[in-house]
């Protein structure tokens, strides 16, 4: 059995030996691979879907919508998030300016720092009221996606 996570919702998937898949113990859904990354899903001629994988992420394109699901083995679940929130870079970017120092009290929505990517400025704002525990970047730093920028509590 597999767990597929989309946002904060988990789906339980069972892949049967005949190639059908059941979601959350629902009725089996027929699937037929028809080319590289191309799948027919559903009974009859079904709908066309495209799928690609990167790490544990599964990308699915179905009827013009895109779904990103994280595939996890049911026996190896991820730990829950901790109380200390680290604000991370959403994409590769350059730090333009840092507006806060450790110990600063901030209100939800305050700008903590400004990133620049693809010639656009992207303000990083406080997700909630709190105190800045640590500032982990400086102006002109190049940051990669997922790199913590500011720690708050």
């Amino acid at each position: 059995m597999l767990i597929l996570r989309a946002g904060d919702r988990d789906y339980k998937a069972t892949v049967h030996t005949d190639g059908t898949v059941s979601i959350d113990d629902g009725s089996p859904i027929p699937l037929r691979a028809t080319g590289a990354g191309l799948v027919r899903v559903g009974s009859g001629s079904g709908q066309q879907a495209w799928v690609a994988a990167s790490g544990s992420t599964r990308w699915v394109f179905l009827n013009g919508e895109v779904f990103e699901l994280d595939a996890q083995d049911a026996r190896r679940r991820r730990p829950a998030a901790t109380a200390h929130a680290a604000l991370v870079a959403p994409m590769p970017a350059t730090v333009v300016r840092v507006d806060v120092a450790p110990g600063a009290t901030v209100r939800k929505g305050d700008t903590l720092l400004i990133l620049e990517a693809m010639k656009m400025e992207l303000p990083i704002r406080a997700p909630a009221d709190g105190v800045v525990r640590a500032v982990l970047c400086r102006a002109r730093d190049l940051v990669k996606p997922g790199v913590p920028l500011v720690e708050m509590e």
Partner: protein
Amino acid sequence: MTLRRVLVANRGEIALRIIRACRERGIESVAVYSDADVGAAHVTAADASVRIGPAPPRDSYLSIPAILEAARGSGADAVHPGYGFLSENAAFARACEAAGFIFIGPPADVIERMGSKIAARALMIAAGVPVVPGRTPEDQTDAGIAAAANEVGYPVLVKASAGGGGKGMRTVRGASDAPALIAAARREAVAAFGDGTLYVERLIERPRHVEIQIFCDAFGHVVHLFERECSVQRRHQKVIEESPSPALTADLRARMGDAAVAAARAAGYRNAGTVEFLLHGDGESAPFYFLEMNTRLQVEHPVTEAVTGVDLVQAQLTVAAGGALPWRQNELRQRGHAIELRIYAEDPGAGFLPQAGPLLLYREPRGPGVRVDSGVREGDRIPIEYDPLLAKLTVLAETRPQAIDRASAALRDFPVLGIRTNIPFLLRILAHPAFQAGHVDTGFIDAHLSTLLGGAEVPQEAVAVAAAAAGDAGAERGPGGLSRSPSPWTALSGWGR
């Protein structure tokens, strides 16, 4: 004079568009590339290619010395700037001409005049073309800009005087917001254009953005090729363009066309250009104002090509080589309805944040009336340094409703996986009742954002596909996520082409 070898001073889809146009008429093409674009589609398509520098634009695609050096070294006789980058940089056009290269665009002094919002406005006022109230203060300090905003009257737009494409532009609704927003506009202006001069203009609330394509040759022929409706925008950048505009009557179209021709004549224009207007309200007597003139080929030029049947890039090459315009005004017609959708690597749910990363799967749609201009291929990695435009999908059909249906079907057949794109977002715009009724203005996306972002619901079918492709959670595997370990998936018929 004949063009033999053209250096294309750009990247991505527009570089490919120009390279193909050159090939059709036996002109050799030279691509340039930065370190982020080694092996990119435009580089492999050209007859020759030259590295011009590191990934940051100012060291490569914005470097006049590097591009001129590439032109000299490759034996080019002309330079096509595309759009963006150096396309509206008068110093670049002048440097090309001084070095003996034909610049495929208007003369440098025309770019300079129209690139300066002050000079362009003065020229338009003199030519009798209506303009929006505004000014560029001599006092260019932040306080000077704020004072100018007070005089023009809030709400105002603060814009980069050298700019375009929405970069270095901010809406300021009152004096209290002014200091932070002026500073941000200035930083973006310096970063994008190397010039922090700012311009302040009265904000016309929720106008339509309607532009007229014009074309001029060196023999005094000036024509317009009708309008493009470009009102669907996010962050002041166009997302969907169409022709004809659902807002124009025949009479209003004729008057705007005449105004655009008058603007082009006043500017002493040559080659392809666009006169942008704001159209305020609906109906025969809706006022329109000159916004700016784009002294280059536009991103959305395929819309005009679709409804008029002309090839604007071929005409650019003809006129640059000293030839006459291939068409007269009375030979030009608008036929059918065309819609262009810009496919951006961005996340609409995160404030349209640009996305970078690998294109694990990328398949373009095809079919009658479907055109895709793209600069990427499956397996490419989208770099962070440049504009997030991946492709342009342009459809042509007999009527607007049929064009919307054709565009929707093509988008559903345009899977892009590995990075987030705006394809689902575009589909929701096309399906929106206000868009279908033609009730669009530049505030459309902001006004309907929550509806357009869609829900988080994942259909069971999508989860099933993901589960079947999952097998075990392994490394990057690209299309299909096919793993080598035995799984029910590998047993499915027809897999693994």
